[in-house]
């Protein structure tokens, strides 16, 4: 626990110093990594801990981005101050669509989420007041100090990534998190001891949507421009899912490992070897499929068990049984 707190503080200090340590290109790359990591953690929260695989999480990226652009432009407020709108809007949308979607189970939930995302994307593409298929520029960008724009974005992204990991760590150690993990491991047993599965799923769904919306809003704030094709791109969820699949589903460490592999592979294939983005996705998908076949729960759990590693262990040790003197004399009868 102490080790975790120290490494957390060191990481936070590194993130604060980041803009002075990294070049301009490096800073932008790091911002992207941190945002994707935050999204992957949010997707993992839903899939790994609530058993709900969403193929439509790109809808929250899009809603977060459009919410930010729209409100910031309409109220003529600095986008930084409007950022909280993005998770709020996503949380509202998620709590409304949970109603019909939660009637569906497993794969049917997954694809219905996807259909919902397609519907929203089609409606945004048709909406003239949202810029149609051409998209929207961020007009309120003139309120931003452009000298500090990249560092501030990096800090927001870093805070978001670190915040989601820290928040999830605390959540998983709470009673609520214990309930979630018990459902993950054995839903029947969890229900029999009084864990309200549907309520847990609802809370996790809304949290996951809000986090994704915030990360999406920051990501498009960095572009100063949003279009429906980019915001509602199915590749957002593909990235989140591959990172979680490769790293380890239902663990906090898994998405971190997955993000390192995701970006390492991308730099290797598109930058060093010079192949196109299509081939990169082919390679990434192949890696994910092989990992799934070898270890269905991703790379982290077997590594952890083999080497006895502990990074962000949320496990608890059972309280030792109180010393009760054996029932002398009755043992024979019971035995």
């Amino acid at each position: 626990m102490k080790g975790i707190a120290i490494s957390y503080a060191v990481t936070a200090a590194l993130l604060v110093a980041g803009p002075w340590l990294l070049g301009e290109g490096g800073l932008r790359f790091a911002t992207e990594c941190l945002l994707i990591l935050a999204m992957a953690q949010m997707w993992n929260l839903l899939a790994g801990y609530a058993g709900l695989v969403s193929f439509g999480h790109q809808v929250f990226v899009g809603i977060g981005a459009y919410g930010l652009f729209l409100i910031s432009d309409t109220l003529d407020l600095s986008p930084y101050w409007v950022l909280p709108i993005a998770p709020l809007a996503c949380a509202v949308v998620a709590s409304v669509i949970a109603l019909p979607l939660f009637r569906l189970r497993e794969a049917y939930f997954s694809i219905a989420m996807w259909v919902f995302s397609e519907i929203v994307a089609a409606l945004v593409t048709k909406a003239a007041w949202l810029g149609g298929s051409a998209g929207l520029p961020l007009r309120s960008s003139r309120l931003l100090d452009l000298d500090w724009f990249e560092p501030v974005l990096f800090w927001i992204a870093g805070g978001l990534a670190l915040g989601t990991i820290g928040g999830l760590f605390l959540l998983m150690r709470s009673g609520f998190g214990l309930g979630l993990m018990s459902v993950r491991d054995n839903d029947l047993a969890a229900m029999s001891v009084g864990v309200d599965v549907q309520r847990n799923r609802f809370i996790v769904f809304v949290l996951s949507a809000a986090g994704c919306g915030l990360a999406g809003a920051v990501s498009f704030l960095g572009n100063l421009y949003v279009s429906p094709a980019a915001a509602f791109d199915v590749n957002w969820v593909v990235y989140m899912m591959f990172i979680v699949m490769i790293g380890g589903i239902g663990t906090l460490e898994g998405p971190i490992i997955g993000t390192v592999i995701f970006f390492g592979l991308r730099e290797l294939i598109t930058d060093q070897l010079g192949y196109s983005a299509g081939w990169y996705l082919v390679a990434l998908g192949t890696v994910a499929v092989i990992v799934m076949l070898w270890s269905p729960r991703g790379l982290w759990p077997p590594l952890r068990d083999r080497f006895g590693l502990k990074l962000l262990g949320v496990g608890r040790t059972a309280p030792t049984a109180p010393d009760v003197p054996p029932l002398a004399g009755k043992v024979g009868q019971l035995g």
Partner: protein
């Protein structure tokens, strides 16, 4: 009159949509597994058909269906044997879902890199444009033939599952994969055949859809979503429901397009979502 014609054409298109759904429903029914890569396999079949038509221009394009369907069966058999059977046994329903999604991304991007992102189509010459007049309505010959083919395939599949020993083995495996082993049935082998059959049906749908409208490597997503909506609308587990679901969806799409020309699949998707709200069990209640 124009509206009636639209609805009739929608119903004809729906036969094809039913065909897209049936392959997905078959695999789900037997293995409790949704093959997310179903759409990509359909598009792959369409590419194979386009290549074969280019290689043998003297053969009528519809005869190309025969080698394509055989190839699709083989691909499905291998896909199940090499990849899917390793996770089909897992108690965790997440693993097959994620795995098939991964396969779909790999296939989609492979097709982009190998065939390019250009729009393709399959031309049938005279047959594509031919139409007949029925009760004052102008009906395309090809859509009509497609619907007839879909109904025949549904009947054939129904008969095969109900009356043949292969069908009995498949149904028994779907019910109790542990018990059928006592009768000398290898569940993995049954799964291989079922996946082959599913992709063969998908290939027929994929090629016929390529005749109707053009496609790109990215069309697999649309095809999967239609197939899935057909299955859910019809009621999970009901074959004839899938045909009905397809017809309703086809009508919704064409009526939507008539009203709003660049809507694409928006109205079909919306209808699906509304139906989910008011009738989650599907049009035909599932017989569990």
């Amino acid at each position: 009159m124009a509206w009636i014609e639209t609805l009739v054409n929608g119903a004809l298109l729906g036969g094809l949509y039913g065909l897209l759904g049936i392959g997905l429903a078959l695999v789900f029914g037997v293995m409790r597994l949704v093959n997310i890569a179903h759409g990509e396999f359909m598009v792959l079949a369409a590419y194979l058909a386009v290549i074969l038509v280019g290689l043998f221009p003297q053969v009528h394009p519809l005869f190309v269906l025969i080698p394509v369907v055989i190839a699709a069966f083989g691909v499905g058999y291998l896909y199940q044997a090499v990849i899917m059977n390793r996770v089909a046994r897992a108690p965790d329903p997440l693993a097959p879902l994620l795995l098939t999604f991964g396969v779909s991304i790999v296939l989609r991007n492979l097709m982009v890199e190998v065939f390019g992102a250009d729009v393709r189509g399959l031309q049938l010459g005279e047959l594509s444009r031919a139409s007949i007049r029925l009760f004052g309505l102008s009906i395309g010959v090809m859509p009509l033939l497609t619907l007839v083919a879909a109904v025949l395939l549904f009947l054939l599949l129904q008969w095969a599952l109900k009356r043949t020993s292969f069908g009995r083995i498949v149904r028994a495996t779907a019910d109790r994969r542990d018990i059928v082993r006592l009768f000398g049935v290898k569940p993995d082998l049954v799964y291989n055949y079922v996946m082959g059959l599913s992709l063969a049906l998908g290939a027929i749908g994929g090629v016929l859809l390529a005749v109707r409208s053009s496609f790109t490597p990215f069309s697999g997503v649309e095809r999967l979503l239609i197939a899935f909506e057909v299955v859910v609308l019809g009621g999970i587990g009901s074959f004839w429901g899938a045909l009905l679901g397809g017809i309703v969806l086809g009508m919704a799409q064409l009526a939507g397009l008539k009203w709003d020309a660049n809507a694409g699949l928006l109205y079909a998707h919306l209808l699906f979502f509304v139906m989910l709200l008011i009738r989650p069990a599907g049009l035909v209640a599932s017989r569990a």
